[in-house]
Amino acid sequence: MDAKTLQARLLELIRRTSCEMPPDMIRLIDKAWRKEKKGTTAKYAFGVMRDNIKLASELSQPLCQDTGTIICYVERPDWLREREFTKAFEKAVVEATRKGYLRQNSVDSITGKNSGTNLGPGSPVIHFHETSAKSVTVRLLLKGGGCENVSTQYTLPDTALGAGRDLDGVRKCVLDSVHQAQGKGCGPGVLGVCIGGDRGTGYVTAKEQLFRDLDDVNEDKVLAKMEKQLVREANSMGIGPMGFGGETTLLGIKMSARNRVPASFFVSVSYMCWAYRRNGFKISANGRIGRWLHS
């Protein structure tokens, strides 16, 4: 595969991710819309979301104007070098910004200057992992600032919450994070949660859970049960879409755990908004797209 082909495939990945809602999320939003009572502000909010999903796809324009932090995960066979991929991806990002699939979203934290291209130190974010497979797997998440701002990290024990160093303590932190977020993260959201790890890996692992299919079942039986229970409990708080009040506050919780040192017990929560922009594909050495992961 030459550099131009890779760049074109990556541009299409960015376009689809920004403009097309994954089918698992569409199903959940439709279900939530049906659940809300007629004439409520919540029903109205879900109605606008459904119209927006349809319109963005038809017009091939971003679901949300905040096209967020560009987070890319690459499973890389031997034949693809990191610097080749990075170069192609950066070119695709610049092109996607020019075409309006991405907003100019990279700001110099010292000078306050917007680079205008989405390139700069730390943007885009690319994680590489080696794979023995023949094809490359690329996953992309566009995570807006509103939901990133309400993402949070707790340290157990937490006296104010009465949360101890156990799974019930974890549960209390997660529910508190939903209450704290109210409508500010553009709910109904999905939470990625990591129990344990250090502060850095905790946040990264929490975010990685957002790549999972929303209807999958956690391989860990304890976490699978917690995920279900926490969604039910979060929805009983009545915050509703956009914080308007309503039946559905969260559409899913995806949990994971990392070992921790005895002294630390972090609970990291990554909130993803309803405009759930994630996709990915498998691409072979000859540049053929084998499969879209969420289309």
Binding site: T41, Y44, A45, V48, M49, D51, N52, L55, A56, L59, Q61, P62, L63, C64, Q65, D66, T67, R98, K99, G100, L102, R103, Q104, N105, V107, G112, K113, N114, G116, G144, G145, G146, N149, L161, G162, A163, R171, K172, L175, D176, H179, Q182, G183, K184, C186, E233, S236, M237, G238, I239, G240, M242, G243, F244, G245, C273, W274, A275
Partner: protein
């Protein structure tokens, strides 16, 4: 119900929490950089008397010499909480469109000057961009960059919900109270 320019105090005072409103007229985008700039004593690039400010960092591209809005949903408003109330009072701003709601300082200013907080649906950038029919001008584009610039948006039937009115009522306060009680029961 319809809310058409000019945005007078009388029209705003008539609105109540829960009203579904469609706004028509000229609104100005303004978010973090411009709120801080004005609060620090900067001169507004447009006349803000009886204006509506839209917390929005849109995607706008120039096609054949004309600005075209590609995506234009609201951004989280609470970041402007330190600035919004004083700016409403200083410049006579009549309304703010945003998402997520604002705090007690802004609510008090809404009551005092006769202003409203209009909640647009966050993430609905296409539905909302369709309501922007023209972009007459842009200000402070060079200084602040595209998302933070002050864009003039001519909107027609722009759909919002009144979640904070000029009578001291806030839907956000109410929902937070209910969810706090529920949380206390769940973790108590």
């Amino acid at each position: 119900m319809l809310l058409e320019a000019p945005f007078t105090e009388k029209k705003i005072r008539a609105l109540k929490v829960g009203d579904l409103v469609e706004i028509s007229g000229l609104v100005y985008t303004g978010r973090d950089a411009v709120h801080k700039y004005l609060h620090d004593g900067g001169k507004p690039p447009v006349d803000l008397k009886d204006s509506i400010i839209y917390h929005c960092g849109p995607v706008v591209v120039k096609e054949k010499g004309v600005w075209v809005v590609k995506a234009a949903g609201p951004t989280t408003s609470i970041r402007e909480e330190p600035y919004q109330g004083p700016l409403m009072e200083q410049f006579g701003i009549r309304g703010v469109i945003g998402k997520g709601g604002m705090g007690p300082k802004t609510l008090a200013a809404c009551k005092k000057v006769g202003a409203c907080y209009f909640h647009a649906i966050g993430g609905a950038a296409q539905v909302l961009a369709q309501k922007v029919v023209r972009v007459p001008d842009v200000h402070m584009y060079e200084e602040f960059g595209s998302p933070e610039a002050v864009w003039e948006f001519e909107v027609v039937k722009f759909p919002v919900v009144v979640t904070m009115d000029s009578h001291g009522r806030s839907l956000h306060e109410a929902v937070e109270g209910v969810s706090q009680k529920a949380l206390d029961q769940l973790i108590g």
